[in-house]
């Protein structure tokens, strides 16, 4: 229960659309969303396939609590093989379309094959059809959204769409939904565009009523909502500052990667911080931030709704960017700001708007621009390559121009759309790419937060903070404070975070709730809603099973233990300032213990015993 029990299978090549029952045994082993969609993907594609070939599939999946009143219960994930990393890709998004899909009666949609011509999928409860998308192909995700609402005369449609960057082959294009929420990482939008699938438009009016024990569910939901409201992070910090509450905190501890991770502190951090977003600007006296916003069912509401100063050079004579839209989250602000050395809040907000409008990941984009700036500084990239743009660190003009070029896949934007790894290789300096398995780093320097180094190295989708956010423990003391500069105990910490997060990502809930919730708060909500018995222990087991299944996919795709590493810069070049000054990331001290705790051999492969224990 709580699952609708129905999957929509869409063959883009033939146009055949069919409903099929959800595999209940798999739901019991993998819960939903990330876990369950990964199970289906692993069963249906060869992990060694070409990510952008017709043989790859793309799955949009909800969790059992998606569409319910459980706080944050509006998530969905897009799962496919990544063109950026060659690994499993699983990108999670909030907004409203996940809940809409559930309200239309579907747990997930599996897209297979490639459409002969651009199409979009229209879903109205039990009805689903592929319709021509010629009129919106070659336009932004924002334009597609507007066009679809008009075309169907339905303001209540919820829409996921790809932008021009995805169509142009940018390898880190995401799937945008509800204008400014994104399944952002690992190029899931690139895969969607490669299938000639422009958008998915959903209208669901059936409701989500399949709750096992409604009275117990509402009690658990209300108790959990109170935990979020009473917690300082989820009740005050995130609503007021969003994730941007971290900018000054991480800078203070010398773990804010700066100028392509050459440095660990940014002198302009405060200019682009959550606090700065509240300050009135000189031109009109208004702050960057208009309000905070919640995704479906979310009682935290960390989302930022912002404007750009109308007089700023990025938007002069461009009234289409003068209104409110999705503002800066911490990771985006870091990649667009400190990592490129740009301290201009309006320029960052503009680049962020373009990332949303044309659907590309601001983390990978910012990091790739940072790499290009380092290459430019050393002469490996010249104005001849950049179309005449001065790509010096700190140039807001270069950042804005880069965003415009990547959005449309024009000029040097083609190179930037390759991502940092391919860009640095193309220009002769692969060592300057700050990536793991081809995916760019987020905003925590692993020299100053040791556990994050192990987390990045072992993340199943390449460098990522959302696979195991040990920052919670190492910086914020959640659930217990650990010393960010030591390696002892970090293998166990990373594993615990990775497993718990995999379970949360499979439930329909948001991982940000775990700033306040433990699995003790989450399990009763799942157990009251879903068939079967769900305890914190079963959730950890499900999470560990998912982690190993993802690992298995990557191994079959050709990834090996040699890929569980970090760029040389983080292993050899010491942090230059702050509490971590003189330190590198001591990955080698943590990795063997991690493999042992995981039940993997020294080759990083799950042992037969582990596979059997987890019923893989």
């Amino acid at each position: 229960m709580s699952w609708t029990g129905k999957i929509l299978r869409v063959n883009l090549a033939s146009g055949a659309i069919a409903a099929e029952p959800l595999n209940p045994e798999w739901a019991n082993l993998y819960l939903g969303q990330r876990g369950l969609a990964t199970k289906y993907l692993c069963a249906e594609i060869d992990p060694a396939c070409d990510a952008l070939g017709a043989e790859n599939k793309l799955i949009m999946a909800t969790g059992p609590l998606t569409g319910t009143m459980a706080s944050t219960g509006g998530r969905y994930s897009v799962v496919t093989k990544s063109p950026l990393t060659g690994c499993i890709a699983c990108s999670n998004s909030g907004g409203f379309i996940g809940a809409e899909l559930k309200n239309a009666g579907w747990d997930m949609i599996i897209f297979e094959g490639k459409a002969p011509k651009p199409v979009y999928l229209y879903v109205e409860n039990g009805k689903a059809e592929l319709l021509p998308a010629d009129e919106i192909w070659g336009t932004s995700a924002w334009h597609a959204d507007e066009w679809l609402h008009k075309r169907h005369q339905d303001p209540l449609l919820r829409i996921s769409a790809v932008g021009r960057s995805a169509e142009a082959g940018c390898l880190y294009a995401g799937v945008m939904n509800d204008l400014h929420r994104a399944a952002g990482r690992s190029g899931v939008g690139t895969v969607m565009a490669s299938k000639n699938l422009k958008a998915v438009a959903v209208r669901g009016t059936l409701g989500v009523g399949n709750i096992k024990d409604p009275i117990r569910f509402m009690q658990a939901v209300n108790a959990a909502k109170k935990v979020l409201a009473d917690n300082a992070v989820t009740g005050q910090g995130l609503p007021k500052y969003g994730t941007q509450v971290l900018m000054n905190v991480i800078n203070e501890m010398g773990a804010l990667p700066t100028r392509n991770m050459r440095e660990v502190r940014f002198e302009g951090a405060n200019d682009v911080s959550g606090e700065a977003m509240h300050l009135p600007r000189k031109s009109d006296g208004k702050p960057n931030l208009t309000t905070n916003a919640g995704c479906f069912a979310c009682t935290i509401a960390c989302g930022r709704i912002s404007t750009i100063d109308k007089g700023h050079f990025t938007v002069q004579n461009k009234p289409e960017y003068w209104g409110n839209s999705g503002g800066l989250e911490y990771e985006a602000a870091w990649a667009l700001g400190p990592d490129t050395g740009v301290n201009d809040l309006d320029a960052l907000t503009y680049a962020n708007f373009l990332c949303n409008e044309d659907g590309f990941d601001p983390i990978s984009f910012g990091s790739t621009v940072a790499a290009a700036m380092e290459l430019y500084g050393m002469g490996a990239i010249t104005k001849e390559d950049t179309g005449g743009v001065d790509f010096s660190f700190g140039s807001a003009e270069a950042l804005a121009k880069a965003a415009e070029m990547v959005a449309k896949g024009e000029g040097f934007g083609k190179d930037l759309g390759l991502g940092s790894k391919r860009l640095c290789a193309k220009y002769g300096h692969p060592e300057l790419s700050m990536t793991v398995k081809g995916q760019e780093f987020p905003a925590y320097d692993p020299r100053g937060i040791q556990g994050m180094g192990l987390g990045y190295a072992t993340s199943n989708r390449g460098a990522c903070h959302l696979r195991g956010y040990t920052v919670a423990s190492e910086v914020l003391g959640i659930p217990v404070k650990t010393d960010p500069l030591v390696t002892e105990g970090k293998a166990g910490l990373v594993k615990a975070f990775q497993d718990a997060t995999a379970a949360v990502d499979s439930s329909g809930l948001c991982v940000f709730a775990t700033f306040a919730w433990t699995l003790e708060d989450i399990a009763p909500q799942i157990d009251a809603a879903c068939a079967g018995s769900w305890t914190p222990e079963t959730l950890v087991e499900v999470g560990e099973r998912i982690w190993n299944l993802e690992r298995d996919f990557n191994l079959r795709a050709g990834i090996t233990a040699a890929d569980d590493t970090l760029p040389k810069r983080l292993l050899k070049e010491a942090a230059n300032a702050g509490p971590a000054a003189g330190k590198v990331n001591e990955l080698a001290e943590m990795l063997p213990e991690y493999y042992t705790l995981r039940g993997w051999g020294a080759d990083g492969v799950p042992t037969a015993e582990t596979r059997e224990r987890l019923r893989l």
């Binding site: 009143m69 989500v208 009523g209 409604p214 916003a293 919640g294 069912a297 989302g303 209104g323 409110n324």
Partner: protein
């Protein structure tokens, strides 16, 4: 004392907890499409506005109903739909100037806010107190309070 739903859009985050609480209370499931209260997003302005029936004292819907299926609840002041009497003619949906009475194609009846009999679920579910349930004669209280605070600041500045 009668109470009214009091809506402060500035506090709304657009999370739709109210819509789910409403549909759960009235339909037994989480279904924003069947909610009697709706949250509207004004994207360019960056604002979210919940809107529902204001329970007009002299209610157009009640007056227009040809079968007396909408009646005054004397305890709460709400105008309630008697489902057994409603014939689904939709005249009330035309009569209401605010659009807050709507047809439900699943049942063939109309639905509107009935203040949950005096304990509205939307107000209880709202995480930011954007929706409250207050003395019907004092819905301006918070705004008066805010202006009073401003005038106090003015007095302090000139003192």
């Amino acid at each position: 004392m009668q109470r009214s739903l009091n809506i402060d859009p500035i506090k709304c985050t657009g999370c739709l907890q109210c819509e789910m609480a409403c549909s759960y209370e009235n339909e037994g499931m989480f279904n924003p499409a069947k909610s009697r209260i709706r949250v509207f997003t004004f994207h360019d302005a960056g604002r979210f506005v919940p809107y529902t029936c204001t329970q007009c004292a002299d209610a157009w819907c009640l007056q227009a109903c040809p079968v007396d299926a909408i009646v005054l609840n004397r305890l709460t002041g709400s105008k309630d739909v008697i489902e057994d009497r409603c014939v689904g003619c939709k005249v009330c949906t035309i009569a209401c100037p605010f659009g807050t009475v709507n047809y439900n194609q699943a049942t063939g009846k109309v639905i509107k806010c009935d203040l949950c009999g005096g304990d509205p679920a939307c107000a209880k579910a709202c995480p930011t107190a954007a929706i409250t349930y207050v003395d019907a004669d004092q819905t301006g209280f918070d705004r008066m309070h805010a202006w009073a605070a401003k005038s106090l600041a003015g007095v302090a500045a000139t003192a």
